[in-house]
Symmetry: C2
Amino acid sequence: MNMVKAEQSGAALNDRAQRLLKALVESYIGDGQPVGSRTLARTAGLELSPATIRNVMADLEDMGFIESPHTSAGRIPTVQGYRLFVDTLLKVQPLNPGLVDALKIGLTRDDNPLSLVEAATQILSGVTSLAGIVTVPKRSSVSLRRIEFLPLADKRALAIMVMNEQEVQNRVIQLDREYSASELQEVANYLNTQFAGKNIRDVRAALLSELDEARKGMNRIMLSAVELGEKAFMAEESGDDDFMVSGQTRLMDYDELADVASLRQLFEAFNQKREILHLLDKCISAEGVQIFIGSESGHQILDHCSVVTAPYSVDDDVVGVLGVIGPTRIAYDRVIPLVDITARLLGAALNPRN
Amino acid sequence: MNMVKAEQSGAALNDRAQRLLKALVESYIGDGQPVGSRTLARTAGLELSPATIRNVMADLEDMGFIESPHTSAGRIPTVQGYRLFVDTLLKVQPLNPGLVDALKIGLTRDDNPLSLVEAATQILSGVTSLAGIVTVPKRSSVSLRRIEFLPLADKRALAIMVMNEQEVQNRVIQLDREYSASELQEVANYLNTQFAGKNIRDVRAALLSELDEARKGMNRIMLSAVELGEKAFMAEESGDDDFMVSGQTRLMDYDELADVASLRQLFEAFNQKREILHLLDKCISAEGVQIFIGSESGHQILDHCSVVTAPYSVDDDVVGVLGVIGPTRIAYDRVIPLVDITARLLGAALNPRN
DNA sequence: GCCTGGCACTCCAGCATACAGAGTGCTAAA
DNA sequence: TTTAGCACTCTGTATGCTGGAGTGCCAGGC
């Protein structure tokens, strides 16, 4: 039984077995019912009797590509079966041009990146009837455009930083003493003339290295500037990763997931975000569409789910990941190109220069 | 049957019947099981036989306070039964002082109102094992502290407005022509000297009335200022109402709600927000804790749920609503004071002057 | 050597039946 | 007015039965 490993058998699979596996997976994806030899004989397009097909199916089961839920219930694909299917048997469907146009309209340039991200999740979820998921874009090359300080009560100040053309960040910082409005103005002026237009990572590095120097000889304004700047930019780098989901409730339509126990797990995973983020993080470095089938994700919560993702980029910089989550029996042939094109369109829509 | 109306019978209920109803509701709230005459005889503390209790229960059923799911299944409270219970039979539990301290720690002043709101939802959900819900606070008296403009490409500019001490709003506005940085600076200066510290509603009104005048005689800067200001503040007033939810998944623990169909409805209601917002909006004008039991909410989706809310205020201005959503069998005696105190503490924590 | 028809076998889903447990309503007696 | 008793109803569970679907295997045919 365990002598026949799935790996070696990939090559050993003859054409007929492959076609049968393909037909079986497609049938199961279509209606979610285990597939028996007779239906397969009818639908596979091979002129074979059910008995012959049973023999082949027994082989496929030995090789670990399919399994039966119980003795007389037909077969369903295993993770390895799906894997072989998407890797070598699947022909992705050409995208419906009308759909592409609709997507373009749904994802046109918008001043607010977050509303674009939300639109993307809703599109993904709506078109696929799965849950759509998009990470909020990392500001890849964050450059400082301008910084301002406003004095607050209790030795605090509000730092307002404009980044990357039109993003605004603000943060309350705790000061070591009271600063007057004009002092803060001077500090801001110094930082703006010194660092405007620079990448924020460089700014921070420069500030850190100047801190020692400043302690010795610099004038008061510059010392304050270095200190306040450091405080303002602190934690600015550590991206506050997050993602958005749409259409979780659609997952309730799939019988495989529709028991309260697994739904609860799944929805808690969406709420806690940690595990999902971890998985998406792994996808950000990959190129193109990536697919995790069932346990492949490595997260127990997603054992009965598949995830299809693609990174999206602005100006060749990967800034986030989007995709869908559903049961393992996803219509991969339609979903893969859709996730792909959505990633491209979202990247394009996020690009500040049109 | 419909001769005996629940309203008139409220008075007609003798002490014994009230005590029995109270015991029945408490028992049902405790374990969610329909309550039979024998368990009631044991727990109610009245020295009565089950047979007598059956007679009383029959009366209560006629009056519409309880009902049985089927012939031999004990009784459960109706909406009217719960209503009588919370209105006249219930003694709210004094809050555990240790709990109050814990709440205070969880809701201490924070620079970010949203993180306070999130903390509040989590506290509500965690302590009650229900779903916690908090609307994001309306900025009740929004006063402009400062406004700045930054030129962008394509005849656009970024308006940055600091409101209410430390809130920052920003918005991209479309200009009718290119403005230089110094022009924008002048415009901002004009607006700042003119309107800093003023309530935003007044600012907008002033801008609108000046618009006509400006068209005629004013200098170019002032005209630009009026126009840009108008654009920046547009839609600033129309509150983008929203709310946060925590612990939705806890609702899956209650058998009454734990079928996929109602869960789906409920979660979709949370996602679409519209209906829930509408309900919460109604609570904002009420004073103190408000309770909707089952169909009382008027939203079909919440037919099997109860909602307990309380508005919260900053400086005597009601700025939002918080509460919990759960099955009808909520432990009202614990939940009501908890919602109440949480509303007070959140209001206090949101108050900018400590 | 591969394909196929046939057959025995297994398992599930659905259905009827039986039965114990819980609870009620009613009646008659205290 | 309260209570004990009793017949009745309904649910949930267990049991057994049956038809349907599907398999595995074997023997015969090409």
